[in-house]
């Protein structure tokens, strides 16, 4: 029953988005990242904890390990951030070639609760970004990922978020390389990264 409601909401959101933006891929397909004539280069422009705008251009030359989530998420998000933290530890001297980035899909609340304290509790290398609604939506669309606020009277502040839980790997020249599905073991991510560094 709740699934039906959720699916309806998905379709409603999809309809609106298509009207507004023409083409909007609702959910990234794990096997086939969107392809165009040129390489697929997702972009973002979002403030960090100090309010400095960070974009993909700031990290040219590094691999980016990107994740969209929210900090009031006790199950999915800690699992993925723990894996990212483990990967960063295990990369050793290659760790400075990889920048992990956590983009909040719940930016207002996450700024209030403290995004940097949360991400650094997993690993100090993880950079947390939290923008406004427009910046966040733009980044999500560029990455072809989905997120949505869901009302839930039992949840803190009366809502929770659904979101694409995968990790995205961007290359040193900004090209989309691949995604790691939710639950991919840290060792698999590490091996993939090592083969590229």
């Amino acid at each position: 029953m709740r699934l039906t409601t959720f699916q309806k909401a998905l379709w409603a959101a999809a309809g609106l988005a298509c009207l507004a933006y023409g083409t909007w891929v609702l959910v990234a397909d794990p096997a086939t990242p969107p392809r165009a004539e040129a390489a697929f280069r997702p972009v973002f422009s979002l403030p960090d904890a100090e309010g400095r705008i960070r974009t993909e251009a700031d990290f040219a030359g590094k691999h980016l390990l990107m994740f969209f989530g929210f900090t009031s998420c006790p199950d999915v998000c800690p699992t993925t951030l723990s894996e990212v933290a483990q990967v960063m530890d295990d990369l050793g001297s290659d760790a400075d070639k990889v920048q992990p980035i956590f983009i909040s899909v719940d930016p207002v609340r996450d700024r209030r609760l403290g995004l940097a304290a949360y991400t650094s509790a997993f690993h100090p290398a993880i950079l947390g970004l939290a923008g406004d609604e427009v910046q966040t939506r733009a980044a999500a669309e560029s990455f072809h990922i989905y997120f949505e606020r869901q009302d839930d009277p039992a949840a803190p502040d009366g809502y929770t978020m659904s979101h694409s839980p995968a990790l995205y790997l961007i290359g040193p020249d900004g090209d989309w390389l691949r995604q790691f599905a939710y639950g991919t073991p840290a060792s698999d991510i590490l091996n993939d990264l090592r083969s590229r560094l």
Binding site: F6, L10, T71, P78, F122, A154, T160, S162
Partner: protein, 157 residues
């Protein structure tokens, strides 16, 4: 601020590797009850536990209660068409002869309305209510935010 009772409950923690002990009620074995540390009490906490039904009749986990959360609930993380959400679960089936895990990425206890920060190395009690077996209270071990489960092989149980 902790009440004296809560402080007493939280202090049942000096015991090492709480999560590696086994508790039983009827034909149910309860093991590996753990949680992740939180930063403050504003974000929800989580509860994971394994339940083995050694009997020949199905049962179900229908509720959780703990002094550290005003609104604890059973949730299930589901990933549908590449989108993760966590709807409420009315109950978690515990079929005869099977082990059911509340574990990362699946069923979990969602501890909303925390009354205290959950600190690594501490513990708290949780009362599990089963449809048929009734209630059992077990200690939950708070592991680090990065933990993916208790490490019971090295616990010398």
């Amino acid at each position: 601020m902790r009440t004296p009772i809560l402080a007493a409950l939280l202090s049942l923690v000096g015991l090492p590797a709480l999560a590696c002990e086994t508790f039983t009620i009827g034909n149910l074995m309860i093991e590996h009850a753990w949680s992740r540390a939180t930063i403050g009490a504003e974000r929800p906490g989580v509860l994971y536990v394994e339940i083995t039904n050694t009997g020949s009749a199905d049962d179900a986990l229908v509720g959780i209660a703990t002094p550290v959360a005003g609104m604890p609930m059973l949730h299930e993380t589901v990933v549908t068409d590449g989108v993760a959400s966590m709807p409420h679960a009315m109950s978690v089936p515990v079929p005869a002869g099977q082990t059911v895990a509340l574990a990362p990425g699946g069923y979990h206890g969602m501890l909303m309305g925390l009354t205290t920060t959950l600190k690594e190395g501490e513990g708290f009690p949780v009362t599990l209510t089963f449809r048929d077996a009734g209630e059992v209270t077990v200690p939950v071990e708070v592991l680090s935010m990065r933990a993916e489960g208790p490490d019971c092989e090295h616990a010398g149980q």
